[in-house]
């Protein structure tokens, strides 16, 4: 199953690298969003806490515009049936999850790098903690959105439905993530962030387990 999963992942990755459909659009999306934020903030002094909120807003909407791609593309190209025949549902889910994970991590890395370069008021005090939270946040985003993407791929209004369905499910992650990042940006003690880290960890476990159990129903026609 693991081999099948990696085969699905490799297929998605190579088809993505061949067309660069999602990557190009996403990179432009991030650049445009950051540009809008920078235009609107010229001459303003914002606290690192407020900028943390903006960083998460950019990350959330970038994920919303890119992560549904892997399943929607299968429906649009009409390759769903073939994939259903060739791979077990578990393998498909795992492969798509890994692909989304790689995509969202690359995306977030790009966003954070640009954010740190362009926003001089955004100073992170505790880098170790900051990267740990970003890693957990990316993991959580990928695991929650993969199953939602599988659901909306079967619906008519795919693009608008994705953020609508994802937001209530992602909200615990966003709240804990924003709170934890604020602590990492500030110079506060590690112990203050511990409840949020626990929450992020358990969120990832719960949502991945539920997705594994339910993916069969979504995938099989």
């Amino acid at each position: 199953m693991i081999r099948q999963a990696f085969a699905v992942f490799y297929k998605d990755l190579s088809s993505e690298l061949r067309t660069r459909y999602a990557i190009n659009a996403l990179l432009m999306f991030v650049v445009v969003t950051l540009a809008v934020i920078m235009f609107s903030l010229v001459g303003e002094t914002l606290s690192p806490g407020a900028l943390t909120g903006m960083l998460w807003v950019v990350m959330f909407f970038a994920a919303m515009s890119g992560l549904s791609r892997s399943f929607v593309a299968e429906e649009e190209r009409g390759t769903t049936m073939t994939l259903q025949l060739l791979a077990t549902p578990m393998a498909v889910y795992l492969g798509k999850l890994i692909f989304n994970l790689v995509l969202v991590m690359a995306l977030n890395l790009f966003i954070i790098a640009l954010f740190l370069l362009t926003m001089d008021q955004f100073i992170v005090q505790q880098y170790g903690l900051f990267w740990l939270i970003m890693l957990l946040g990316s993991l959580g985003m990928a695991s929650a959105t993969t199953i939602i993407a599988a659901i909306i791929a079967k619906a008519n209004t795919k693009g608008t439905l994705f953020p609508v369905l994802s937001f209530p499910v992602l909200l615990p992650l966003l709240m804990a993530g924003i709170n934890a990042t604020k602590i990492a940006v500030d110079d506060r003690a590690w112990t203050a962030v511990w409840p949020d880290l626990q929450l992020l960890g358990s969120y990832i476990v719960v949502i991945t387990t539920v997705s594994f159990l339910l993916f069969d129903f979504v995938w099989k026609d």
């Binding site: 939602i148 909306i152 619906a155 439905l161 209530p168 909200l171 949502i207 339910l214 129903f217």
Partner: protein
């Protein structure tokens, strides 16, 4: 038929009792308010121990009598004139405040005779405490309807019976209705008690998330045309949402500081929420109201289900 009339009477009677029953404090609450705000008057109920006497010029004139509150504590009550029905009055419900310099309770206005049934006065809530009979059952029904919807969703995934999917959908519809009612009543109340319509208290966040989940559920349902697909995917979505919703409803409001009773920093609202703290009569009315709401919900479910069956039958006969 009879039980529908009974249900109507049950809910109407409980609503009337909940609204009409007076709020009455005792001497303890009078003394407590005297500490905070001298001019603030509150409703107090007390029995007349003796008929008293006319107050002297030095005492400010009027009438003085000895009264006893429900806890058995006694104090002097001062009226500006002798109450007309004093000779055959058992006691009074009156608006009063405590005068520290004179060591007596100043009665501003008599509201009526001694009420045999009243709710205790909760500092900071007073008459506004009565929302508990309406708002709390609505909020509970929102969660119950959501859980029922998820339960039928799971049943659909196991048995593939379209009836279960329809039950899931109508339960979500009723849950959305209760959710909107609960949010509106709570929001209006918050304006008068907390000063603004929305404060992002943890419990307000939780009802907002439920509202979003219900909205997303129906957005998803309307976006899929094939019936079986719609049923499966909406069931799956309600289960995924149910994995995160308990965090907002059961955990976050209890571990985070907030305005609702039962929050982490809640020191004085214990009387409302903690199991032993709420007044017994209020608790009985609240739970009876909840029972009424649950029956109402089941009845609405049943009506919707019958309408659905009739529609199916008509569609068959036409085809």
């Amino acid at each position: 038929m009879w039980w529908k009339i009974l249900l109507f009477i049950w809910i109407a009677a409980l609503s009337v009792i909940g609204i009409v029953t007076p709020i009455a404090g005792d001497l303890g609450s009078v003394a407590m308010f005297a500490q905070m705000d001298k001019a603030k008057t509150i409703p107090v109920k007390f029995t007349v121990v003796n008929k008293g006497r006319a107050a002297t010029e030095e005492e400010g004139g009027g009438w003085l009598l000895l009264g006893r509150d429900a806890q058995g504590r006694e104090a002097d009550f001062h009226f500006s004139v002798r109450p007309a029905d004093l000779d055959n009055a058992k006691g009074y419900l009156a608006v009063a405040r405590y005068d520290k310099t004179e060591h007596r309770v100043e009665v501003e206005k008599i509201l009526g005779g001694y009420p045999s049934f009243s709710f205790p006065l909760i500092p900071g809530l007073e008459e506004r405490a009565k929302i508990i009979f309406f708002h709390v059952p609505m909020a509970w029904m929102t969660v119950i309807a959501f859980l029922v919807s998820m339960w039928y969703g799971i049943r659909y995934l196991r048995k593939k019976d379209m009836d279960d999917d329809f039950r899931s959908a109508i339960s979500a519809g009723l849950g959305l209705l209760f959710c909107i009612l609960g949010t509106t009543t709570g929001s209006l109340w918050a304006k008068f008690n907390w000063g603004s319509f929305w404060n992002w208290d943890p419990r307000e966040t939780s009802i907002f998330v439920l509202l979003l989940v219900y909205g997303a559920y129906f957005a998803l349902r309307s976006a899929i045309e094939i019936e079986e697909k719609k049923a499966t995917l909406s069931a799956v979505y309600s289960i995924i949402a149910a994995a995160t919703v308990p965090f907002f409803i059961f955990i976050m409001p209890r571990i985070m500081p907030g305005l609702h009773p039962g929050s982490a920093d809640d020191s004085n609202a214990g009387p409302v929420m903690s199991s032993g703290g709420m007044d017994a009569s209020m608790r009985v009315i609240l739970y009876s109201m909840l029972v009424g709401y649950i029956v109402l919900y089941s009845w609405l479910m049943n009506i919707q289900m019958r309408i659905h069956r009739i529609k199916l039958k008509r569609a068959e006969t036409v085809a």
